[in-house]
Structures are given as C-alpha cells and as structure tokens.
C-alpha cells in the first residue's frame, strides 16, 4: 500500500480527522500514522487505535505489515 492510500482510508473512515502517514523504512511495509481527530476526545489509547484500525477496513490483515499509530485530539495535537 502507499502512504496516500492509507491516509485516504483513515480520512474516509474518520471524517474531520487530520492524517499524516509516513513510510518509515521506505519498503512500503512499515508505516507510521499520526491522526488528529476530535473523535478521540474522552477515549483511551486502545479505543483510539481501534477507531483507526476500523477505518482501515481489514487492510491490516494482509496489506499493511506494520503500522505504528499516534493519536491526538486537536487540543493534544497543539501540545504534541
């Protein structure tokens, strides 16, 4: 998968979110995603990550080997 494809999936699945995906190793297999969304407010780490995984609609099963995820609300994002 490409970084743009992953970004699009997350944006479609989480309207109103800001997403940046980086191919960490340059092999199209190890990605890092930074997601800023108001939808994370009041949610713990596990729930936030599950929201991102849900947006990826199963791509984690066979098309993305490794995805490191960082999640922030807009307020947290400013401080990050």
């Amino acid at each position: 998968m490409t970084t743009t494809e992953i970004e699009a999936l997350i944006r479609d699945g989480m309207p109103g979110s800001r997403v940046e995906v980086i191919d960490e190793v340059g092999d199209g297999n190890h990605f890092r995603a930074v997601v800023v969304s108001p939808g994370f407010a009041g949610k713990g780490r596990v729930e936030r990550h599950q929201m991102v995984y849900a947006a990826l609609k199963g791509a984690m099963a066979d098309r993305i080997h490794a995805l490191s995820i960082q999640t922030y609300t807009p307020e947290e994002g400013e401080r990050a």
Binding site: V46, H49, Y53, M60, A66
Partner: protein, 114 residues
C-alpha cells in the same frame, strides 16, 4: 470435540496476571515489536507468561477477534487487554506500566526484583 479457541484464550488470560501473545518467545523473539514488548515487561521486574502464536495459527487469528485488535503482540494484565507494541511503549515511557503492574501484583506476594 472441536477446539473452543475463544474459551481457551479467555481461560489463559484469566489464569495469568500478565500475558503476552507474541511472535517467538521472550528469549527468542521473532519480530522487533515482540522483542520491544518483552524488553518493556522485563524492565518492570515482574514475571510474565507468553504465548508463541507462531506455533498456533488458530490462536493467532482467534486472539485478533477476541480483542478486536488486528496485530500481534498483544498484552493482557489482570485479564484486561492493555494494547500492542505502540501503547505498551507509551505506558512504559510514562511510568504507567510500572504502576499498573505494581498494582496488579500488590498483595500477591510476588514483588518486582529490586
């Protein structure tokens, strides 16, 4: 009798205070993320059990459904799903992992190695 994989998973999570589903074993982790999780857990000084999902394909898929979490490793403390490698690293860096295990082992006679 067909294997009741979800019950098997539930029981082993309930039976172990700290359990990590990983690729390989603590002494021979077979993936960087699993190795990082083992390091973080070892750093707390507390004992932990592991399941090598490379030896059990059915459990490898079962555990993903069990917690609605698509990746390995997965860490459970006191029967609760704590997260994967990313979250465990964050908890370890912030000191929350140590506090979580201090609490989980409090009063169980097992203390962290000094």
């Amino acid at each position: 009798m067909a294997r009741e994989i979800m019950k098997e998973i539930h029981d082993e999570i309930a039976k172990n205070k700290v359990l990590v589903y990983m690729k390989g074993t603590p002494s021979f982790p077979m993936c960087g993320f699993s190795a990082a999780v083992v390091e973080a857990l070892r750093d707390t000084g507390y004992p932990f059990a592991h399941v090598n999902i490379l030896e059990d394909q059915e459990k490898r898929e079962g555990i993903k459904a069990f917690s609605n979490w698509p990746t390995i490793p997965q860490i459970y403390v006191d029967g609760k799903f704590v997260g994967g490698c990313d979250i465990l690293r964050e908890l370890h860096a912030s000191g929350e992992l140590q506090q979580m295990l201090d609490k989980a082992f409090a009063g169980s006679g097992e203390s962290a190695k000094a």
